[in-house]
């Protein structure tokens, strides 16, 4: 590790922390329905949208009504996106004449985008027309993110409520999230990316002869507009197959910094939004502190392991030391312009947030370096996590921590002055334990049956790690991959003639992603609905404070314990074996 590398990481964390209260405060005003900076621009568009949707944005919904609207909307959009991908062949903006998707891969892809996962079994530039990318996938990048944030706004209102059962209006939250937060940030971000060299064009690919007379073809497309939102909305699905490693998706160290910042920007800022909406900013900072502490540990582990180099490298006597003019370390599957520090930082941030975009090949990370991202996902994507979903997941862990603290001191647990009783604890356990169980069951199914075998690429423990990573990622709506693991076989034929999906992997993954999205979402809404009508007890001498370092420590402890108890045996079989040995397989 170098001082230069740590400096980059420090700059990143400083900028992120500085932006948290600024954007967080702005978002709190958006969700309170107040006038904001962009109201003069988007106010008329907002009112027009309500008219076109035929909704009354002021009609208040209780938690059941809110959940029903969110579900109906998501299910319908699932159907529409599936139809778009299956009929790709007849749509415009398809200069490469790609075929429509196969049914199983399309099932997986659609579930992946609706659930804000963006797991990619398909290859971006080799299967998707510009129309599918823009009107299909990029729309979901916005909408699935906005649904998560809208639900979070409703959940926060439940926590903050002084007795009213209403949690807000889904359509108002959705529209305001899109117009005032996601759209303007994406637009500005996309232009910054283009200024660095990320492509944005409707022209088809460009073929030419290189300096030495070889054929080379540039895949182009409207990439920057999609990349900005895939980073911002914790989506992660790339325009190109190798995602943000590809120079046309991530051109320079500066574009890399902006994309990195966009990964954690909204999930981090939402902690401040929470603090403001419940009327105690320290509560927001406490959550931010718990998340940031776990993040920093993850960065240190990944950076240290990658700088140290891999067994394959050491066996071949490839240098690993950093020296003048070289970073050293494990550069397999990493880009020179990012080096070790920015790659390890990205790998940690993208798995802490449920983003899943990559700027390096996670499959080629060292045992310990690859375990970092894996463990991040195993915490249930609450260390920043997905936009909206990360924080409502974290709030469930907060209730769990409060409950455990209550058991230890023998008092009825309270959070923000509200009593946490049997109903809330039951719902919390469903929300926090469901994803962990789903990951274990699906991984076991894929490993123990012959159906999982065709997807595995590497032999030995790495083959197990790939499978574990695949279902951990899909089971937590992350979307990053040890990309050797596959659900789609694509011969190099024009228009993808003869391509087929690996049905087992596509279906199991698709179902896993959908449940991972909607089970915790419903649990969080139900908890909020139940808390909303409770009386707020005044702060007393016996109140267990939840805005102190003690509570932050307890919260981290609970998250780590739950993840460790659930996943330690699985981690032993894959990444830990690999980290402990220099043996080759």
């Amino acid at each position: 590790m170098t001082a230069q590398g740590w400096l980059q990481i420090a700059v990143y964390l400083a900028v992120l922390t500085a932006l948290t209260p600024l954007l967080g405060g702005y978002m709190a005003r958006v969700y309170r329905g107040e006038r904001v900076l962009l109201t003069p621009v988007f106010g008329p568009v907002e009112r027009l949208t309500y008219r076109l949707l035929r909704v009354n944005p002021y009609a208040q919904q209780d938690w059941k009504s809110y959940a029903r609207t969110a579900l109906v909307f998501s299910v319908l959009f699932w159907v529409v996106l599936y139809v778009i991908l299956r009929t790709q062949g007849i749509h415009p903006f398809n200069p490469e004449d790609f075929d429509s998707g196969t049914w199983d891969v399309s099932f997986n892809t659609v579930s992946s985008f609706i659930s804000n996962t963006n797991w990619q079994y398909y290859g971006g530039e080799t299967t998707m027309s510009y129309f599918s990318q823009m009107a299909g996938l990029a729309v979901q990048n916005f909408v699935s993110a906005a649904v998560g944030m809208a639900v979070l706004a409703a959940v926060i209102r439940g926590f903050a409520s002084r007795g009213a059962a209403e949690l807000g209006n889904f359509w108002q939250d959705l529209t305001r999230t899109l117009l005032y937060i996601l759209l303007p940030l994406s637009f500005v971000g996309a232009l910054i990316l283009v200024s660095q060299g990320v492509v944005q064009t409707l022209a088809g690919s460009v073929a030419y002869q290189t300096v030495q007379g070889f054929d080379q073809t540039l895949a182009l497309g409207p990439a920057a507009s999609q990349i900005a939102i895939k980073q911002l909305g914790t989506n992660g699905g790339g325009f190109f197959n190798v995602n943000s490693a590809f120079p046309f998706e991530n051109a320079t160290a500066l574009s890399n910094f902006v994309e990195l910042l966009f990964i954690l920007l909204i999930p981090a800022a939402l902690t401040a939004t929470f603090g403001r909406m419940v009327g105690n900013r320290r509560q927001g900072w406490a959550l931010y502190a718990a998340m940031a502490a776990v993040l920093v540990v993850g960065i240190a582990v990944a950076y240290g392991a990658e700088q140290n180099g891999s067994p394959a490298q050491k066996n071949a006597e490839v240098a690993t030391a950093s020296a003048d003019g070289t970073t050293g370390g494990n550069l397999e599957g990493k880009e020179q312009r990012f080096g070790i520090a920015s790659s390890a930082l990205w790998a940690t941030a993208t798995t802490a947030a449920s983003n899943g975009s990559v700027n390096s090949a996670h499959d080629s990370y060292t045992g310990a370096g690859g375990a970092g991202p894996l463990v991040n996902m195993m915490t249930g994507e609450v260390i920043f996590g997905g936009v909206g979903s990360g924080l409502y997941g974290m709030l469930l862990f907060v209730l769990l921590a409060v409950f455990i603290a209550g058991l230890m001191v023998g008092r009825t647990p309270e959070y923000l002055g509200k009593k946490i009783e049997a109903r809330e604890v039951k719902l919390t356990l469903i929300g926090t334990l469901y994803t962990a169980l789903a990951v274990l069951v699906t991984t076991a199914l894929a490993i123990a049956t012959k159906w999982g075998a065709p997807s595995i690429f590497n032999g030995g423990p790495q083959g197990f790690s790939e499978t574990l990573y695949a279902y951990t990622s899909q089971g937590n709506n992350n979307g990053s991959a040890f990309a050797g693991y596959t659900g789609y076989v694509q011969p190099n034929a024009p228009g993808n003639a003869g391509a087929f999906g690996i049905t087992f992997a596509d279906l199991l993954g698709g179902v896993t992603m959908l449940f991972a999205r909607f089970v915790p979402m419903l649990a969080a809404l139900a908890v909020a609905g139940s808390l909303a009508t409770k009386r707020v007890a005044p702060l007393g001498a016996g109140t267990f404070r939840t805005d102190t370092p003690t509570f932050v420590f307890l919260l981290i402890f609970v998250i780590v314990i739950v993840a460790a108890l659930t996943f330690f045996p699985a981690l032993l079989l894959g990444p830990i074996v690999q980290a402990l040995t220099d043996q080759l397989f």
Partner: protein, 218 residues
């Protein structure tokens, strides 16, 4: 429920038009006005013809000739290629520097095949450079020269890698080493804002600069 269905259908249409068409098309329009070259892939021309993109690396190889001076072919009739010693060499790539079909190498950290590939790449590199850098050791070779790029089209190599190769290029081209090292510096993209990322030498631009220098001297 019925109300939700109606609102949802309308919302899908409205948001698809707004986010799926208006937003990317507006972004494309603005980008094409502000940075047309960058939005179209930073294409690089030589004598008026496109020969590459400054962001996309390429191979600098030449056909191997047989004893009769004709290009040698393998069993499948493809020409056999070798690194062209007059050019700086890009990083190893598993996609053959394909810029339209991209994939990762994806071999794990304990993979024997991966280790063997490193060993071969290292031996090839040492064999190529040792004639010009006597005493070059495995430990002097930076990992970017041996390990594959993530994108398959990494446009950069490390400065240490370029400095080793500079001796060979200078010798082959008959350009003074100091001049070649100057060109290396000229074509190094530094850290963004002085702190972010790592410096990298842009291989395509450097090789084109070397070509121009050769022509000037020759």
């Amino acid at each position: 429920m019925r109300r939700d269905l109606l609102n949802s259908i309308l919302a899908i249409v409205v948001f698809t038009v707004m986010l799926g068409l208006a937003y990317p098309l507006l972004t494309t329009g603005v980008a094409q006005v502000l940075w047309p070259n960058k939005a179209d892939g930073s294409q690089v021309e030589r004598d008026g013809e496109v020969v590459g993109s400054r962001l996309i690396g390429q191979d600098f190889q030449r056909p191997v000739l047989d004893e009769n001076g004709r290009p040698r072919e393998d069993e499948e009739g493809n020409p056999v290629l070798e690194a062209d010693p007059g050019y700086f060499q890009s990083r190893p790539s598993v996609t053959g520097y394909s810029a339209n079909v991209t994939f990762f190498n994806n071999l794990g950290p304990n993979n024997r095949g991966l280790s063997n590939m490193f060993r071969e790449n290292l031996a090839t590199y040492l064999e190529r450079e040792r004639r010009f850098s006597p005493g070059l050791q495995a430990s002097d070779v930076p990992p970017d020269a041996v390990q594959t790029t993530a994108s398959g089209v990494d446009p950069h190599i490390s400065e240490a890698n370029a400095r080793i190769q500079a001796r060979r290029v200078a010798d082959e081209r008959g350009i003074p080493l100091e001049r070649v090292l100057e060109l290396v510096d000229d074509n190094t993209d530094g850290r963004a804002l002085g702190v972010l990322g790592e410096p990298g030498v842009n291989v395509l631009e450097l090789n084109m600069a070397v070509d121009r220098e050769s022509r000037r001297q020759g």
